[in-house]
Symmetry: C2
């Protein structure tokens, strides 16, 4: 496999990210730690905006809710989930220097020791469990959860009751997950502590309740970008009704795929030629996933299509296992019969999704070689507007602050930027991905007008202060 990784792009993103405050290696003053990142002020805003759009898109249906479970969960949960038995990685050890590596790192890279270049042998301990074990109180075993999903499964019974016994029931959790990776790598793609946004949809497999006829009518001609296993994972656009008829994908699963594809193409703004729904072949997917497509995005900075989300039809695996180990009935009575609900899981790695924003919306102005922009969609950008007094005197700063505060009061996310030359400030705001800069200059004091500069074109136009908020709101809603 030839690596087409664009190292310079990834390095540039990393450099701007730490200079501007998107993210930093955690505990950098202690040398940083592999697999741990800290979001700075801009990164936190970007991530929060992504989460806001995710919630809005996936939780706007009635009976779809967010809950918050714990990161520390007791051992029986992971006995039931299978993580205790199966959540391990196969490792190899160098026969000379004893360094250990994940087997997939080796197969991808080479079959020699990555450290001393010597011959590798299979480690004896090839069942290293990737969960972080803990002892709670005076001796109870527990683990840091390696996925948020289990928190939803063990809360299902309580929430089904509290929401008055209706299916489908959607339970989302946006929280941290933890995996003790031996060799964290690929930036935000293999972290030891990471954020997930997962939605578990509990439903009756015989009468899923979604899509209803109206929804199906709306999506049946929608073209899914499927990369199917028996088509050598070549992408082809397939309508939902074709996928239903020819590939026997159930309608509820298709409705999940549509929601996910629309999120990436319409809400996040990923170009369709960088998006694919990758069918995970039977041998590669967890045995309980009856149907499994991953969302993969083409990322130059990582040299190919990379997984950022997954759509998993898990059947009744999880609730059945928890019912059998807890001895608590998790069956429900619904639509006139008694059964264990099935689960469709929409699972997103939040940090990976943040990384893709940097990669996808990266733009370099070739005319000005040192100018890097992030063309974030307007609702994702950390700030929607920056307000810049041309100079910090003659009352320009006071006027600019007034405008900045008026934006804030109008619910427009604004940044006040008054230090450095105006050219440097424009460049900084481009790097922060701020779509618009409002500059207060000498003319402002004469005729109450300011300039609006557009990030993506560098074009400027003059607007009266009285019309500023309405103008910006119009620009932002486009």
């Amino acid at each position: 496999m030839v690596s087409t990784k664009n190292v310079s792009k990834s390095d540039e993103i990393l450099s701007v990210a730490s200079t501007r405050g998107f993210f930093f290696p955690t505990a950098g003053i202690y040398g940083g730690r592999a697999g741990f990142y800290t979001y700075g002020h801009l990164g936190k805003l970007l991530k929060s905006n992504w989460e806001f759009l995710w919630r809005k898109h996936f939780l706007s249906k009635d009976n779809f809710w967010e809950v918050q479970s714990n990161n520390i969960l007791p051992e029986p949960v992971f006995k039931a989930s299978g993580h205790l038995e199966n959540f391990s990685e196969c490792r190899v050890k160098c026969s000379k220097c004893n360094s250990e590596f994940r087997i997939d790192d080796i197969v991808l890279d080479d079959s020699k020791c990555l450290k001393c270049n010597n011959k590798l042998v299979l480690s004896k301990d090839d069942g290293f469990n990737m969960m972080f074990p803990l002892v709670v109180g005076s001796g109870e075993k527990a683990y840091l959860s390696p996925e948020t999903a289990q928190g939803a499964y063990i809360t299902f019974k309580d929430e089904f009751k509290a929401t008055r016994g209706k299916l489908p029931l959607g339970l989302a959790i946006l929280d941290k997950a933890y995996r003790n990776e031996l060799s964290p790598r690929n930036l935000f793609f293999r972290l030891r502590e990471f954020s997930q946004a997962e939605l578990q949809i509990f439903f009756n497999p015989d009468l899923p309740g979604f899509p209803d006829d109206v929804e199906w009518k709306g999506i049946k001609d929608y073209g899914l970008l499927l990369a199917q296993a028996d088509n050598n994972h070549k992408v082809s656009k397939v309508s939902c009704s074709d996928a239903f008829k020819k590939f026997k994908l159930p309608k509820f699963y298709l409705s999940g795929l549509v929601r996910v594809q629309k999120f990436f193409l319409d809400i996040i703004g990923v170009p369709s030629d960088k998006f694919r729904l990758f069918e995970v072949p039977e041998g590669d997917r967890a045995f309980y996933n009856r149907i499994h497509y991953d969302v993969e995005i083409l990322l130059d900075s990582l040299g190919g299509f990379k997984e950022v989300a997954g759509v998993h039809y898990r059947g009744d695996h999880d609730l059945s296992r928890h019912q059998s180990l807890s001895k608590e009935k998790l069956e429900v009575f619904h639509d006139g019969k008694r059964f264990i609900p099935h689960v469709l899981e929409l699972s997103f790695g939040v940090d990976r999704n943040v990384w893709l924003l940097f990669d996808i919306f990266y733009h370099k102005d070739l005319k000005k070689s040192d100018t890097l922009l992030f063309r974030f969609p307007k609702l994702l950008a950390p700030f929607q507007v920056s307000v810049l007094p041309l100079v910090n005197k003659e009352g320009l700063d006071v006027k600019a602050l007034e405008i900045h505060n008026s934006f804030r009061n109008a619910g427009i996310s604004s940044f006040f930027d008054d230090s450095g030359s105006i050219g440097k400030r424009y460049a900084r705001n481009d790097e922060a991905g701020t779509p618009f800069c409002v500059t207060v200059d000498g003319q402002t004091l004469d005729d109450e007008s300011v300039t609006i500069r557009v990030r993506d074109t560098s074009e400027q136009s003059r607007v009266k202060i009285g019309e500023l908020i309405i103008t910006l709101q119009r620009l932002l809603s486009r």
Copy 2:
């Protein structure tokens, strides 16, 4: 100390909380685990609303930011912070059954074994560290962070640079923290996994930059509800200028107290007679806290004033320790000199703050003995309005759904509730703390009018559908 704990109130809150979906013991199907709670759909909304108001109140100043660090931090961080050495609890062991307890539980309760009623002796291992230890990768020691503060201190250098070297700099973290309590108790007041909202304000001790003259003018006559140590912790209302002159409290510290008191009284709506700023006596506070007042709220459900937040002047303790252990310069050059910034910390236990909402806004209608309301402020309530079709036929349900969707589109948090008798639905919405119910009935189809029912008075009035959104927005903004 005589306990005045209102057990029945606390039991009622717990019962409604799990029935309605505010919170549940985590992993209830496995019997639950002491010190771990899960927020259900209503609880998550309530908590998110609290966090939204917190961010709005404390981070609206320029150069005040939120960042996101890790829960797992490497050992050197806790060597520097002092947690490795000092974060332990003193335990006692029963001389007969060997059960262990925290010494403060024993002193408060009695001096006999809580389990077998026998004589207690001091445990040998009286330095049990309350942090959860972890091993990362192939052997590095790390811990789950017992407070979010350290994440901000170790990110200070990166963020100070990224935000262009201005003081004061505020860095907030809203995240989980973990303490391996031996005996979790008092509901949300001693959890093993809990949420914190902490704001670290880094400043120049000689020229703090806050409050500025304008802010000081605005707060100098503001009355702080101080319960001072040398006044036997009796509450008295003291103006900021008196506190500055008589008690030598620095202006920056007073400005912090004012912001915190205003948050509780004006934003959350805690009655002033249930609020006090409790001066923590020198013997009881961490040695690095030069000034330390806790926010305490009178909670019937827990039998007295309980700590829900703290205002800590930590001096340069944290940055100095991290500088000395990491060998990285954390001094800054500002206002023409070189120094290590001082820190004022505003620290909130989020779960405790959620609990106080249940306690403070609990209301029992004595005329209708089984009716429990939560009179949450309108911006905190999980839903601002519920929409109820009187019956699920004659098109009332369709009309009600239309109204529900129009609320959502107008940014009003709405719940559609169509199952059960109308009386039961009103009762459920009262328990959920929803301020308004909109009912669609037979008359609606005749004259396009609905009723609005007010949670706190049970009063109903008819409104035309065309004026509904504007009417609700007016009611909500009161």
